[in-house]
Each structure stands twice: as structure tokens, then as C-alpha cells.
Amino acid sequence: MARAFPDPPATLVAALARAARFFPERGIAMLDSRGRTLERRSYPEILAAAEHGAGRWATLGVRPGERILVCLPTSWAMLDAWLGAMLAGALPVAVAPGASMGGGEAQRRKIEQLVASLDARFVVAGARFARDATARDTPRTAAVALAMEALDRTRAGRVQAPAARGDDVAFLQLTSGSTGTARAVMIRHRAAIHNALASDQAIGAPYGVAIHQRAEAMVSWLPLNHDMGLVGCLFLSIICGLDLWLLPPAAFLARPRLWLEHLGRHGTTFAPAPNFGYQLCVERLAETALDGIDLSAWHDAMTGAEMVRPETVDAFCDRFAHRGFRPQAFRPCFGLAEGTLAVTFDQAGRGMRTRPLPAGADPALGLSEVVCLGTPIEATEVRIVGPAGQPLPGGEIGEVRARGPSIFAGYWNDPEATAESLVDDWLATGDLGFLDTEGELYLTGRNKDVLIVRGRNIMPHELEWLAESVTGGGGAMRSGAFSVARGAQGEEAVLVVETQERDPARRDAMARAIRVGVGRQLSLPLADLVFVRRGRIPKTTSGKVQRRQLRAMYLERTLERLV
């Protein structure tokens, strides 16, 4: 049934009001850890709550442009705080709340660093965080820490923010950046709108209509601090007028079946996930445990945000073929926070297409084939460049660059990093790949140091800092962290550590301490831990660890491991 689609909104603020007005019967449902509906709100209710949220920020004296860190799990409290901050003219920044088991210290340190680097006006988190901040003698953080309960009790005042315009920065998105240090991506209202509408078109391309004319709902377990969750699910649903079902990420990780159950329950659905999510479904749902799962209404399964692994896609298709899942539903895509989200989509709709791994591709990712990620979204160009930034002919591997209305406005308060990533309007993605003769994109690796392990982005310095705190290293004695991948499991973390310690028993004790530290603080098992003599880790003349070179030496077995 064709529905009249209202004119595109100019800003995300307008998009909320437009959803309330034109899609009043649609809305967002928060699900609990067992997949039951906790609370569903219609778009009019969501708008009212966001306006109330904005009023609370106004009472607290928040001024336009100020940074509000929102460190809460998927919940109405989180959305009311985030959307409320945006409606108040402030810049919301969603921060991942901590891991479930162990590791509070690393998380607290991370938030302290963000409070300082973003000069945050407030960080709203659970009550315990605010208490801890005072107890830990971190005055800067304690001054801005706000318990969610306290925010909730604040009376809503009058909002006096200037009307948002398309060119204004709407929010900040945290990303690892190319050197593994946290950066805040500035996304303008008009870029967010463009990305959602262009995705609407691209996902619908195989059907000849925008996806909003075919689908009724999205089901997501992605965290709202992640671009795929925020832009790809939340904004897309609001702008397209779809129902959205939100599972907390922990609920999916504990019970992946909940995601699949919901995908079969709400009319025609579509959903994105990283490869890791599909892999988890394959690993955790045996053939015998599929009763009650019907995936015939799940028409489009986007896969992106990390390297798409053919073994995972094949295994998922095999496992769920008898449950109505069609292989053509898989829609590989490519994007990144600096592109708002989506840059390319497979628009053929024939399922995953692959080519053999070309010569010159990075062996560290353990791929034997590369996956077609399709063509750029509307008004967007993609090209491949060499080390000097020169465009390369089709088929050659180089850095992927993109240009168009969805590209970010730069990193907040970091003109140097911005200048490295935005070169004459072209976004230097840090991902490596090639374009085939049809202009379709394939990724072969990345230039970035971030580790992507089981769906999590981990910055190498987090591991290195931990290792060096055990060994008393740093300065002359360094460590280097990177990832290597083997098959469907994806990437695993490897740590190489320089040491002067000659006694193997003492080195074993150090290794154990490092593994326990990394395990407790980062919830990360190490696939390998290698000790080498001091000075053996390659560094630049300024002493920066060259992680890609280190990884190459590891894979080629030219590192002299101390045993």
C-alpha cells in the first residue's frame, strides 16, 4: 500500500517533529533482556519526551554547542537524554557504558579522558559513576558527573536554543580514528538526513522503490553509541517512519535467538549487523534449537561495520535456509563514522558476491576471498588512491576515499587529525581495497591500527598501556598490539612486549600478569603474547611503534621470540 511520504526534513530536530506528525502510529519499543517489551512509545510520545529532556538540560544551564556525554545503556533514559540534548542545541556524545564482567577501572579512565578532551559540560551516567568520581579525587569529572536519577528529578525549564539549521553540527560520534586514539566526529544535520534518505534508496534499489515503501520495521541490538545503531537504525527509522524494536546489546549477546525471533514478528523487516552478530547466531543456535524462528519476512540483512567474512555468510545461509531466510537477503555494505555511516551498499540484491583475494592484499586478515560491497549512495563518489594520494586505475589496491554530502565536518577540536583525514573534500577512510570494472567496491584490509575483535573496537594503546604497567616498560621498552585473523572467527589480539628480563620463570610470571590484566580490564583473551629483546619492536625515528610493520614481522615469523 503506497503511503504518502512527507517532504524530507532539513534537520534531525525537524525529523522528530515530522515523525510525530506524519507517522503517529509508528514508534520505538525498548525490549528487555528476555526480549519482552519494556515500554513502547509512539513518535508523538518520543517527541514529547525529548522536548521534556531538552527542558531539563535548559534548567541545568546547558548552552548551545556544549558537549553532553551520555553514558547509559540502551533505554528511554538514554534516548531522552541524548535527543533532549540535541533539541536543547547542545552536542550529545553517546559513550559506551562498561562491559558486564570486571574491568571498571579502564572504563572510568576512558570517561575521564573524554571529559577533559571534549571539555564536557555534563556526563550523565548511573548513580554509582557519580559517587565514584567524587571518591576517586578526579575533580574535573566529579564536577560534571550527573546521575541519571538526578537528571530525571530535574524540572523541565524553557529551552532557548536557536533553531537548528542543516549546516549546524548535530552531534558528535566517537570513533577510534586511524591511530587508535578516541576522536569525536562532527556530524552536521544535513549529513545525517542525507545518509538516512540515501540509505533508504540504496537498500530499496533491488526492488525499484525506497525501502520505506516495502518494509514496516527494523529490529536492532546494536548499541546506540555505535554509528550503525544510531544512524543506521534509530535515525533511519525516524526518517522513514518505521517501527523500531531495540534489544539491549547484552540481551543479544546472551540470547542471539531473541533478535531472530523479533525479525519474524513485525511484518516486513530489515536489519543491519556486523559480521560478528551473524557469526554469533551461527555459533549459538544449533540446528535443533530453531523452533519458533521464521525469517521469511526478513527481507534485507545488511552486513558491514567490520570485514564481511564469506564463511560466516555461507554458514548463516545454510543454518537458516529451512527457516525462510533467503541468501539474497544479505546486503553487504561499507561505511564509517566519518561518512556519517553508509558509503556504499550492494544494490544488486542477489546476495553476497565474492572474488578471489587479489595479489597485494593484506594477509593478516586471513581472507581467501573478498566480498563485493557495492556502489556508492546517492551524490557520493568513491575512489582508490596510492600512497601519494594519486588516483589508481580499476583493480589496483589502495586507500578508499569518499566524497559527498554525508562526509563529516571534521574531528572536534582537532584540526591536525581533520587535515589528515579530509583531503580536498575527500575522506581518507584508512580502509584498503579496490574498485572492479563495474565500479563496485571490495575491501582487502585497513591502514588503521584499531583491533576489531568479536564486534568490539579496541585501541592498541589500551593493551600496550596495560602491558607496560606490568613490565615497568614505556620509554625505551615498549610494546605493540595488533590483530590477526583466521577464518570465520575473525580477528584476535596479539601483544608483543619488549623486556630485559632474562629469567624465563620471571617472564612467565610477567606473561601471566599481563594476560590477567588484559582479561580483567578489557575482557579480552590474548591469542598470543610474545616477548622480544629491548629495541626489537620497529619504531619511527620519533619513537612511535610501527604496529603494521610489527604485525608483518609476526606473520612472517621474523620476530625473535624469547622463550
Partner: protein, 74 residues
């Protein structure tokens, strides 16, 4: 089957280490490879098998097999 046995069986299943070889000092992540997704699975299976609820705060304090046994099978 008592709670301790049920608990060790679940940990064994998720880690691949035989239940009779598990010791209280075993670190969930470093020794048993139980990363974030597996940790969530572990919590869910413990809750279901033992008929209990484990709060986020309690879960945050579980680093070893011994920590879990102290919390759920005391």
C-alpha cells in the same frame, strides 16, 4: 546435582576445560577464554540453571571461577 556441580559444568562447557580441572584461581578471561559475549552467555545459563538473578554489580565483580562459586554456589 548441587549448585557447585551445575556451575562448574556450565563453565566447563563454555571454556572447553574439563570440570574436574577447574580451580578457583582460574581467571575467566585470561585462563578460560570467556570474553564479553561468552560472559553474557555464562550469566544467562547460570541464572537459568540455578533459578537466580545475578545483578550487574555482582557480575562486575566476577573475575575468577572462585568469585562465581562464592556468589552463586555458597
Amino acid at each position: 546435582m548441587d549448585n557447585k556441580t551445575k556451575t562448574l559444568n556450565i563453565i566447563s562447557k563454555l571454556s572447553g576445560k574439563p570440570a574436574d580441572q577447574l580451580v578457583p584461581a582460574d581467571e575467566l578471561v585470561a585462563d578460560l577464554g570467556i570474553d564479553s559475549p561468552k560472559a553474557l552467555q555464562l550469566l544467562v545459563e547460570l541464572e537459568d540453571a540455578l533459578g537466580i538473578e545475578i545483578s550487574d554489580d555482582d557480575a562486575a565483580r566476577m573475575d575468577t571461577v572462585g568469585d562465581i562459586l562464592a556468589q552463586v554456589a555458597a
